[in-house]
Amino acid sequence: MDEGQTDTHSKAQIGGAHAPCSCRSLHPIPAMIMSRIDESTQNKRSKIHTEEYLVNMGPQHPSTHGVLRLVIRLDGETVLEVTPHLGYIHRSIEKICENETYPQITHLTDRLDYLSAHINNWCWIDLVERAIGLEVPERAQVARVIISELQRIQSHLLWWGVFGMDLGAFTPFLYGFRDREQITDIFEETCGARLTMNYFRIGGLVWDLHENFVSRTKKFLDYFPQALQEHERLLSENVIVQERCSGIGVLSTEKALAYGCSGPVLRASGVDYDVRKIQPYGIYERFDFEVPIGTKGDCLDRYRVRIEEMRESMKIIRQGLDMLAPGDFCALTPRKIKLPQGEFYSLMETARGSFGCYVFSDGSDKPYRAKLTSPGFNCLQAINEMAQGLKIADLVAIISTLDLVIPDIDR
């Protein structure tokens, strides 16, 4: 399907178990990868003639988290090379942004990473607000932080459930969704929607928080720590999970930096980079929370970083609820929002990593060029690095711990 001399193998089609590679000999595997393939496979490679084959984990697959196509070159069960093919949900959002006004683009940003919808919205809105120098009222600021952190917990709960499902335990999926449902109900009551909420506006919120918001959030915060404890007992302390994730998919610090990974992937590889701490936006500098950092960069570290992040988010929400005071929920905004000429940036920490917006404005009410940086884009590049020499089951675990949302990557 693709051209280019590196893609001669794609001629071995899906389902064609007997279609041979166009080149019969074994491909030379770089030394770096040979060291990862264990002894037995290496010996096999040298003594017995085995043929490599391509398997297509196609756009429709239970565990590619969206429409991601992975072409995997395998030798038996060992992964030699993983090539992601993207673009199945490319909606040219950046092009659409050039024809929409700034408030309209807000509604597009949350369709990217729909599991961090609020945070994506806020990133765009933050860019516009700082560009036109708009001061957002205190109540809206605090509400934004609370809602973003609830969104983060919600996203991580879904990730946790899907992680369990990918490993073969179907029950965590339902437990994760059951707990996530409480947050979704809070959002439904306050924001009006369950997935792409669009609750933030340039200047504040679209309407004030619902009167039940605080009580429901408090109820959730009373319930969730114990539920998280149970979830950890189910998966984190399970020997099978630890065997399957410990030491698997190691992403070293320098590789994580070179590939531009961000978020829990980067933090699990030992780099202390959280946009909320390094470059606080909103009123994050007033909150006291920690950033969990891993040491080994394997799947288990990424898993644990996210679980700990959920706990930290709960802390932030508690502090936010204490800070919430009556007031305006939105500032007065100009009717037509025109950014001055120039470049504007904003960077935020979504559940997946650093989501950035970059706008080159020519002074009109539509951006000349809008670029949306997706965190998963960089993380997915590293998959070849992480998965070579491992088994298919490990590849599934790695994709799962990368926490990819493909619409975010394809934009």
Binding site: M1, D2, E3, G4, T6, M32, G87, H90, K95, N99, E100, T101, Q104, R130, S236, E237, V239, Q242, S246, G247, V250, S252, T253, E254, K255, L257, A258, Y259, G260, S262, G270, V271, D272, Y273, K277, Q279, P280, E285, R286, E290, V291, P292, T295, K296, G297, L300, D301, R304, E343, F344, Y345, L347, G356, Y358, K371, T373, F377, N378, Q381, D410
Partner: protein
Amino acid sequence: MPLEDIDKRHAHLSTKESLKPKPRKRGIVSKILSFLGQKSIDGNWEPRAPKSANWQSERGSFDPELPYSPGKPQKKGKPVANPPENKHPSQLDESLSLSLLKQFPNTTPLDRAQVPAFMIESQDLIEVLSWLKCKAPRPFSLPLHMSAIDWPDKQQIELVYELRSSCSNARVSIHALVPRENPHIISSASVFECFNWHEREAAELFGVVFDSHPDPRKLLLDSTYTGFPLRKEYEDPEHEFIKKPY
């Protein structure tokens, strides 16, 4: 430990394949014991988080030569209260500007941005990026993205490379212009692997050709797609209404 030294260590590590951890091998007895229900194998794991106001200077315990040392819990501290560093960098970083201009005289600082931005010659790209990664006063080891802007009236395409530092809020934006008719520029995938896919995307959406790119295939679009969608004159033949103003 000063910030610059930490970043330098990060940067120097990226050139080597060194520090790959070996997978853990456990003996049979520990496997049996763990199978029989020992709770957590890796009981030493603790979240390692900087908790004090001076977290930037207390990074001495982090030794990037051994990135996999077991996490030592750091002492609790007060929340960071409006340190001057943590606001958005809205003015040019003077030392960066001076040293960059000294190293690469053809660079022009741009004052139109919220982050330090520089316009460079397209043939200097690899040197500038490598210098920023390793030898700048505050090395920028974490790439953010690479994008392009189309200027049909100037007949140029502007490439924007965004870098950031992995332990401070320093950011830099490098701009390079390529002519629209013959948009060739050297690929920066050798410096930062991150830009591999960003360049593929820019190539298919803008038509920029990256010389010696390791994998010049289309990324997001179908391989049979013609035209460069993000160029300003691009018109999708099937959807005329895209161009209508709202």
